[in-house]
Symmetry: C2
Subunit: 500 residues, 2 copies
């Protein structure tokens, strides 16, 4: 079928332009000399627009229409049918917003982000308020154009979690709340007994880099198909198939943030590298959703990386790398220290037990904002009330409260739930892996993570965007997403650590 070839050629062109843009982003955030920023911005702007124009081109529209006709569609392979569906979805989303409105959104978001930066520094929510209000108006307009069945918020969720809805999230959250809030309170009464002082010290960048690379190798990251570089705000990026790069940030006073940050990014990288080569240069060569992607990074970082089993194998490496610091620190003490739980103000510093509580309140607030159930001016108050309710702590100021994250300022509404879903998927997937791979924990203890990587590739990675998150979840675990796996995981692990 000639049209299918044409469509694939067009998609390949788009992917190749995006590949160049990805390299420019990576370079921007790793090696680019500062004065290169101006010319880089122009180049990225041009090539991103070029790629976008191809996606919404008349040619694309016509090819999709023709290939969707029953007589054509029915003759396609399964993969090609899915391809058509996914491209149509992306095409419609891209077409839904008129260029002028999108431009307005981009400008408002960029302005609001700039104002937010200062507002956060100066602890001045009021100066940021009108910009967020304006941005929300634009987003509400976009929501109407995207369309939705039940809740306007669902249109935004769909950008990150196809198939997820606010009402499904609410059910999940109710179950999490009922279990996590009391559990966190219980732990809080015991956390004083845990010593973490030895985690602080002087750790050279060079040595940390060596250790981070060892950790990446341990989880099966292939340095012939990737790299580890330093940056300000760590990320993983796919430059091309077989070229997926990880970045990290080193703090010289503590090495665990970089180590676990690297393992987290490594989980993302394994996903991207595991996508089947048959899908290359198509939009199917991507994660199923942000939540599924996050499940891969969170699993590696927390369920694997912070497990007693993994550390049994990896901690001697840490001791050898920083002998003075850890010679006299037993594995047990180290394990407890890096699994320290305490309700805190800042999401990105939260432990795995309290993390989801940070997400819930954000979801509840942003969903209510989109639906005009609350007003921007009341955000600081609402934020602090929810913090008190869920975490038992109240931010002393808005910089440490409602102003802490860039997401809303940057127009990213609907993204936060992915972080939580990632944690839940991770626990559910890992339980399935434990069923399929006999003696998985013992293998991890021996440093043999290859069977887990292989399982993840076979069950999740290789499919790319072929399956929607919920289909994927059913295929892998035999059931729908359920928070009970996460709750069980947390309860089991931390009951032991805190002797509850």
């Amino acid at each position: 079928m000639k049209e299918l070839e044409k469509l694939k050629e067009l998609l390949k062109e788009i992917s190749m332009i995006n590949s160049a843009v990805s390299l420019m982003h990576w370079d921007h955030r790793t090696y680019m000399p500062p004065k290169g920023a101006e010319s880089r911005a122009e180049t990225v702007g041009y090539l991103s627009t070029l790629s976008f124009k191809k996606l919404i081109s008349t040619e694309m529209g016509e090819l999709l229409e023709s290939l969707s006709k029953k007589e054509n569609f029915d003759s396609l392979s399964d993969t090609d049918r899915t391809l058509i569906k996914v491209v149509k979805h992306d095409y419609k989303k891209a077409k839904a917003i008129p260029p002028e409105l999108y431009q307005k959104y981009v400008i408002a978001a960029s302005r609001s982000e700039t104002v937010w930066e200062t507002a956060k520094k100066k602890n001045d929510f009021e100066s940021f308020r009108p910009y967020l209000e304006e941005l929300l108006e634009i987003i509400r307009e976009m929501v109407k154009l995207y369309g939705y069945e039940e809740n306007p918020y669902d249109a935004l969720l769909d950008n990150f979690e196809p198939g997820m809805t606010a009402s499904k999230l609410r059910k999940i959250i109710a179950e999490l709340k009922a279990n996590l809030i009391p559990f966190v309170r219980l732990i809080a009464t015991k956390s004083e007994n845990i010593d973490r002082s030895f985690l602080k010290g002087r750790f050279s960048k060079r040595t940390q880099e060596k250790l981070s690379k060892e950790a990446l190798k341990a989880i099966g990251y292939d340095f012939k198909a990737g790299r580890l570089d330093e940056t300000m705000h760590p990320f993983t990026i796919t430059i091309g198939y077989n070229d997926v790069r990880v970045t990290t940030k080193y703090e010289t006073s503590e090495f665990t943030p970089s180590l676990y940050g690297t393992i987290h990014e490594g989980g993302h990288a394994l996903y991207e590298l595991g996508i089947s080569q048959e899908l290359k240069w198509t939009p199917l060569a991507d994660g199923a959703s942000m939540g599924i992607h996050e499940s891969q990074s969170r699993m590696m970082e927390n369920i694997v990386g912070r497990s007693y089993e993994f550390l049994k194998f990896f901690y001697p490496n840490i001791q050898k790398t920083f002998p003075k610091q850890f010679r006299n620190v037993s594995l047990d003490r180290f394990y407890k220290a890096i699994n320290f739980v305490r309700p805190s103000l800042i999401r990105i510093e939260a432990d795995e037990v309290t993390y989801n509580l940070h997400i819930m309140l954000r979801f509840e607030i942003e969903e209510a904002l989109i639906n005009r159930e609350i007003e921007v001016k009341d955000l600081p108050k609402i934020w602090n009330e929810k913090m008190a309710e869920y975490l038992g702590v109240i931010p002393p100021n808005d910089s440490l409260g409602v102003l802490q994250d860039v997401h809303w300022a940057g127009g990213m509404i609907g993204y936060f739930p992915s972080y939580m879903l990632g944690n839940l998927y991770a626990a559910q997937f890992f339980r399935a892996a434990e069923k399929d791979i006999s003696d998985l924990k013992h293998l991890i203890e021996k440093g043999n993570l290859a069977p887990l990587k292989e399982w993840l590739k076979e069950k999740i990675h290789k499919h790319g965007r072929m399956l929607k998150p919920e289909e994927l979840c059913k295929n892998v675990t035999g059931e729908e997403l359920s928070p009970s796996y996460f709750i069980d995981y947390i309860r089991e692990k931390y009951s032991k650590i805190y002797e509850l």
Copy 2:
């Protein structure tokens, strides 16, 4: 004028695509993980073709035609007129070769280069011969399509040195030969007295890098608008305006190849960074020719970098960097060692006195090949005869002789003269700088290279491709290119060193 704006927009698009391609090349040769090569090749191929298609597009043709009409052309600024002329030149060159023939050329060149690699390793010219013959046939066909006035070879020269011809080169070479060949023979009788043993030792990459960076800073390279990275085959590359990157290669047994290689590349980088921002995103934002470009690198590397004055200021740095190695080596001894002259087999290792002799024989051979005055099968014999005549040495085998360079194998005929012209321009320009900048050598001695950099920028760099090499030479030096400046420079410098 609306058409002028359109043309500039189109040229900007081409430049931005090329900028992405340049970044991909840089990345390929510095940081790309090996498995990324396949997807990189596809992406580079696609984007290069996209840029080329825009250059030879109907839109480009029509805009150029319309803007060249007298009534339009006359109303343009000087810069815009030059822009039209240069773009027309590039357009015609690109249009001259039908895509099929160009494809044939690319394939033949790539095949021939692959065969050459093995042939060089195995010292087997005969296996390479048919591939070079085939490639030459294709190039002769291309020459006919490019067109020429006097000598078919001129059509190829024009790709690298607009305005230069074989007959002009022959005159220059005659003068060089008459002076250099006897001078080299004379030096050879004295070179045994020069000790170079202390140049060999153990030099860590890290320390070399530090020193190379200091050298780049010394010549005025701006690290906010560039970088220094390691690679296999060093090069300088412009990623965008204000982003021009240098690369180098470190040998741990000797640091001078990297140091002087870096200074050489730094000269190229100063040129690119010095081009007027008014010319950005147009083809005028480029060097006037390969020869002029090479003049900037050679001037920094040899006339400045290997001068007694520069070393008076920079050698203490070297001593401080490698104290054990150079504590007891005087500036005089070091100066003589790095200016050691000896006829040798390999061009890229040649000193500045014998270097041009290597070029002459290559020019004479390639010119004769294009004109069918000699046959490929006789190349080894001819090569060795000329080596004996010009340099007094005969290669023991073809690997160290006719097979040493990649240029012919890769289809790059007409490039070699640029290296020689670079040396000549460098000497002539530097003499002009000495006239304009009072006490230039004294300034260099003090490490103050800013006035020279400023002079080069004002006289040469900022013009980009606005002026043809010969116009530029006249503007800067008041006369045409003349080899006498180079001959005088060599004679003066080396008569002192060798006490002739």
